[in-house]
């Protein structure tokens, strides 16, 4: 849903968006709804095909595994959506996740009696600090978030490796109560997935109903206009990076709880998967549109493709290729819809005049 403009190249340094007809709120939301609907349809079709092939795909154990598998990606995708909506990007989430996961393990090694809520809060706080480093550097340097977070992607991962120095933390080093958090179910639903659901709901409600949440969209649509209309752009962008860091921290703690075995490589390469989930979920890469629900569905879809391919006995090596094709299809679809809507709006305004 490329709302920025209808031009071929969308460069902020370049021309200010040519005055292409900007869709009204109602239309945009209808289109967003279409995106979430089409994702649900895709998910449904995938489930149907896979289940027809093997009915154990919908067994409770398999569903549980699926929900468990996508929870962490969903949480990261929510954080990434907050960032991308403001026309920024956070490439360091995978490294923050790895760093926090390892820190959580180290915490339990150093103080074996630590209750898990303390570990959770510590992890989220550490993630928020990493996010604040990102946000602070972006504010100070006034350079694109892509560059800064590419730098911190390396820096945080390097700190992680330096700290770990080849050491591995095992499940035996962590308290049972903490590890249960990673595998326990509540009414058949994994706790991890419930946490992800809460994160999605809170972020979705915030983006939709809070003034500052709406302001994030305004910033992403046109930063200059947002600033001129009195939105504290710098502060909002900083806060968004802290939030993204904190969510990556949360994901890191949950990663530690789920997998138990930790080394410094945890979460390597996850950042592109997270961006992919958001893009597949209809979050425009140049900001200003998209929802956390779409991004979360995108994350579920990406995760589910993996397990479906396994059930369908398709060579697992195809998985990544399918994900790539899906990203291309998703952004192509967005482009098509945007062009169609622009055409429709042009027709309408010509009619009115």
């Amino acid at each position: 849903m490329s709302r920025t403009d209808a031009g071929v190249t969308e460069r902020p340094t370049g021309a200010p968006p040519a005055g292409a007809g900007r869709p009204g709120r109602g239309l945009t939301e209808r289109l967003l709804a279409v995106r979430e609907l089409s994702l649900l349809l895709a998910l449904g079709a995938l489930v149907l095909v896979t289940t027809l092939h093997n009915d154990r795909f919908l067994s409770s154990q398999s569903v549980k595994d699926l929900l468990l598998g996508c929870a962490i990606l969903v949480i990261l995708a929510v954080g990434q959506t907050l960032v991308i909506v403001t026309r920024n990007v956070d490439l360091s989430v995978g490294s923050i996740l790895g760093l926090v996961a390892f820190a959580t393990g180290e915490l339990f090694l150093a103080a074996p009696g630590t209750p898990w809520p303390v570990a959770l809060v510590t992890g989220v706080a550490l993630g928020a600090v990493c996010g604040a480093v990102n946000g602070g550097l972006i504010a100070v340097a006034r350079v694109p978030a892509l560059v800064i977070t590419l730098g911190t992607l390396y820096a945080f991962r390097g700190v992680d490796y330096y700290w770990a120095a080849g050491q591995q933390i095992n499940a035996a080093d962590m308290p049972r109560s903490f590890l249960r958090l990673g595998n326990q179910t509540l009414l058949g639903v994994p706790v991890l997935f419930l946490v992800a659901l809460v994160v999605v709901a809170v972020a979705g409600f915030y983006l939709r109903s809070f003034r500052s949440g709406r302001e994030l969209y305004a910033i992403g649509s046109e930063p200059t206009a947002a600033r001129l209309s009195g939105i504290p752009v710098g502060r909002r962008v900083f806060a968004v990076f802290v939030a993204s860091g904190a969510l990556a921290g949360l994901a890191g703690v949950l990663y530690a709880a789920r997998f138990g075995t930790l080394d410094a490589a945890a979460g390597t390469g996850l950042e592109l998967q997270v961006v992919a989930a958001a893009v597949v979920g209809g979050v425009a890469i140049f900001g200003g549109s998209g929802s956390v629900y779409g991004a979360a569905l995108g994350a579920v879809l990406l995760t589910m493709i993996g397990s479906s391919l396994a059930v369908l006995r398709i060579d697992p090596f195809w998985q990544q290729a399918v994900v790539g094709a899906l990203i291309l299809a998703a952004i192509g679809l967005d482009r098509l819809l945007a062009l169609r809507m622009a055409a429709r709006l042009r027709g309408r305004s010509a009619h009115g005049a």
Partner: protein, 353 residues
């Protein structure tokens, strides 16, 4: 990348010298950033030579340069692409896919290796053309497209060879790519890389095409009105990127005598880092190839020296990240400080009489 257009154009390169016309003209062979990065490179080499045992040996120089060949190759077209304001994140995946295609062709086609090499480069160009069609034909943001093809091409490279490796390339070929020039320790492969760098440098800095690249990076719309065929030029840049990835794939395969699906995984971020470190603005429109070549070498020298000094290879990413962040933060900080000094002086002048 189109992130954060809050400030008009405060890009990576060139502290106080801000006029793009002066920075890119042939009359100014060294921009201030190029000078800084070249000086940094010289200092790094001198310090490493003096302080790190075994750094200043012919054998080390040979390995250092060989390790840098793929990075240097990929950085060349990437520089041009980033100058136009686009990005190609799929380069490492194209290297991987070209490598496995080469392996598969050698394994099963019975063609001569010469012919296979030509085919692989052409296939690389084809992969690049797919990127180009999506970006210029469909008008999609290159960041999103090439994240998609990053996954797609990497996935396909696993599809081609699975988790197998093809390793039985003729010894004459695998020895040829690592051979030093007679009487020296400089690898022969440096020559084609330098020639290619020369070609890209001339195109960028001494031809109308190169001027057009800066023009479209600064303002695509204005460039269009000035008669530059923006879409067609960008398309061919992506094709060139793919073809160079084919070359890098050949080199990678022969150097390690192994065609595997995971060859060059993650290299795309290092390439982008080197290009940005070289002073190319991620907003497009600024940067010089000399700076990028120096940036590649600086990255290689620092990493190599620290590795020789027994720093864990993975922890070295701290250095990569810090260099990148410093390269974008410092020029702006210096510029700010100068501006403040200037203002203070002006105020003092006003107050004095």
């Amino acid at each position: 990348m189109a992130h954060d257009s809050l400030t008009p154009a405060p890009p990576a390169g060139g502290g106080a010298v801000r006029e793009p016309g002066r920075r890119v003209g042939l009359g100014a062979p060294l921009g201030s950033w190029d000078a800084a990065i070249v000086a940094g490179l010289v200092v790094a080499v001198l310090v490493a030579g003096a302080a790190v045992p075994n750094f200043a040996t012919g054998r080390n120089a040979q390995f250092l340069l060989l390790d840098l060949v793929p990075l240097a190759l990929l950085a060349l077209p990437m520089t041009l692409i980033v100058v136009t304001g686009e990005i190609d994140l799929s380069v490492a995946s194209m290297v991987g896919l070209c490598s496995t295609l080469m392996g598969q062709l050698w394994l099963s086609s019975g063609l001569s290796l010469e012919l296979i090499c030509v085919l692989v480069v052409l296939l690389g160009a084809l992969l690049g053309a797919v990127n180009g069609v999506f970006v210029t034909g469909f008008g999609l943001p290159s960041l999103a497209v090439t994240i998609g093809t990053l996954a797609l091409y990497r996935g396909l490279s696993f599809v081609v060879l699975g988790d197998q490796a093809v390793a039985d390339f003729p010894a004459g070929w695998t020895a040829a790519v690592v051979r030093p020039m007679p009487g020296t320790s400089i690898p022969v492969m440096v020559v084609p890389v330098l020639l290619l760098a020369l070609v890209f440098g001339v195109v960028l800095h001494a031809t109308p095409v190169g001027r057009a690249l800066y023009a479209m990076g600064n303002n695509a719309e204005a460039a269009t009105f000035a008669g530059v065929s923006v879409a067609r030029t960008k398309f061919w840049l992506f094709v060139a990127s793919g073809a160079v990835c084919g070359l890098a794939g050949l080199f990678w395969t022969l150097r390690y005598a192994s065609a595997r699906g995971d060859n060059a995984t993650g290299l795309e971020l290092t390439v982008v880092t080197a290009v940005l470190l070289g002073g190319v603005s991620i907003f497009g429109g600024r940067g010089r190839l000399l700076g990028v070549v120096a940036g590649v070498l600086l990255l290689g020298v620092v990493r190599n020296a620290l590795q020789l000094a027994d720093v864990d290879a993975n922890a070295l990413t701290i250095v990569t990240g810090t260099l990148l962040i410093a390269s974008v933060v410092l020029p702006n900080a210096v510029g700010d400080a100068r501006a403040r000094l200037h203002r203070r002086r002006q105020r003092a002048q006003v107050a004095a009489p």
